[in-house]
Symmetry: C4
């Protein structure tokens, strides 16, 4: 399987899923449409912006990482294809929990569902990254030691999301803030949790 | 007609259709929104995940096969273009029966409609594959014998779907399981029903 | 402006508009969901398939023609860019009249609106084709005589749609059949209304 | 980060957002569907076309400018990536205020929200343009003087939108006309507010 096709198909799904998020922000339906009612309804639906921004940033970060990861890849085997399709499955599904969280924001179930999907996203991305680093990259001299260290680094993203998901059972608003801050944090050009394979130039913002 | 354009346009439709599937999973509308009501509604709509996963896997497999098929193609004639547009028509239509099946899962009509669309998809893909193998591939020494054997192999996919569709008239849940298992089965890196033209390297997961 | 970018952006809009058409086919909402009710509702919504198929074929044909037209183009000037954006505007708008026609099929207003949009599409495409043929193609020896003949050929498509639109005021069902048959007719690999510029190899199926 | 990937991902988001605008034009729901009722409902929803056309033209112009800007870019740094994702965030969000303005056209809140989003779009685009011109373009002899003059030119677009937004508080219809005329004005092949970096050939229609 040609690497370029996998990338362009993945890019399509990333770009499409990120654009579909806007349907999670509800267009209010007013019984008697007046300016005052509309202003109140718009301010009320402004709460839906937090999950919108969080999901946008999360898909944006995954897209950045996905490309960085594939830059060093030489060939894509069947297991990598399957993991990549599983990643796209979760990415394409994100508009659903985003819409739920935008509509029923402060409820624990909505925050839990959202966190579970982000945790799943992090796990599948970590598996894909580990598989590609171990099997599909250019031959790397110190791949063994790198793999051992990157496994721990990769696990940090899903772990943070899992903890935030558990928090959601009691404090859903704290949990939603965690999702948002984690995504915002990864946008900073800081030292990253997952420093990338030794062969490629290291850059920031990883999940 | 340039082969690259047909591929990129097809890729676009595949990627969009696979991402639009998420609208088939209903965002529940609660009359009095409480955490308990939301949890029940989310668990209830979890049944909509089975058609979502099935359709995602089916479009993913058709996309993989489509690319493999076009790798050996030299030129695309008018009949291939028409068959390809018919294939895209069915692929772009899949979100509709998926949404029906997600909303009215256990009813025979929903399962039948879904199965009919998958059967149609299999038939059109088989026709496209046969036409391209016979007319548009690199000159192949033993194309005649290959064509005779691949015709039988290609017919297996649509036949399985047709049988599952007939099953749906009486046992819709069994039928939905068949659709899901067929898609899951084709994801295994096993020996495929359609081994691909002799000129190209043979790989797994075909419809 | 680079021709390749205009093509890829146009391809994106074509592929996306063709995939969004599926939302014009209504997912029925049943008050008491039973298999009999669902079967009746699905058969009832089958009428929405005719506009879906017509719009799919029309966008498919416009896409084929658009690419053929751009194959001979060397540079894209500002007026061509503006006409191309106007064409994309109409293409991206097609899901709206398609949804109206699918929901309120036999009513004259719905058939008229649909016909007006197709007429507008034909006019803008003809203007774009004429402009590109006259200004942006490779130097052609007999461009003058070609332009005079192609102007008449290009005008045929919009004229047929305009007549069908007028028919819709009294016989909307006849009009809808005309739209469908016109799209189906252009899919045949026959001699085309617009034979394409002399510099490029002539192929079939034009609007 | 490879410039080509940023461009193709941005193109995808631009093309999707421009096509999703059609959902802002409401498919009318009639209680007793008759031709007269449908005609009245369609004429009523024609008011939704003005925001549709305005948003289409605005995204089209931003797309044209985005490409022109990136043509001279050699490398994309982290801050440019972040600004570009912020631009895409606002572009992908445009279908929401467009739908609000299409549904509740003459109300000040709807016109204000729409204007605020366009102002934000203009500000982020100007920041991206300034950053790229100063940091990521080919070495330019007179970049310093260019930067000082282009800063004023770039500020004009957001300022016009900000003034129209303030107008919306009292005269929303005048404000909506301003948005529409500004977008229409930029489509003319006139001298532009932002003439582009000295290294690249100057062309028209900028925000």
């Amino acid at each position: 399987m040609d690497k370029a096709r996998v990338e362009s198909f993945s890019d399509g799904v990333f770009a499409f899923a990120i654009t579909l998020l806007v349907f999670g922000v509800q267009v209010p339906t007013l019984t008697n449409p007046g300016d005052c009612e509309l202003r109140i309804a718009l301010l009320h639906s402004a709460g839906g912006l937090v999950p919108y921004l969080t999901s946008f940033a999360t898909i944006g970060i995954i897209w950045l990482n996905h490309h960085e990861l594939f830059q060093g890849v030489q060939k894509v085997d069947h297991f990598a294809l399957t993991l990549n399709l599983a990643l796209l499955l979760v990415v394409a599904f994100i508009p659903y929990p985003t819409a739920i969280l935008g509509k029923y924001g402060p409820l624990p179930s909505a925050a839990c569902l959202y966190g579970l999907i982000l945790t799943l996203l992090g796990i599948i991305y970590s598996l894909l990254a580990l598989h590609l680093v171990r099997n599909c990259l250019d031959p790397i001299p110190d791949a063994g030691s790198y793999w051992r260290s990157s496994m721990w680094r990769n696990a940090a993203g899903p772990l943070v999301y899992l903890l935030a998901t558990l928090l959601a059972l009691r404090w859903p608003k704290v949990s939603v803030s965690c999702y948002f801050l984690t995504a915002a944090f990864y946008f900073l050009p800081s030292r990253s949790l997952f420093d990338g394979p030794p062969t490629s130039e290291t850059r920031g913002h990883h999940l």
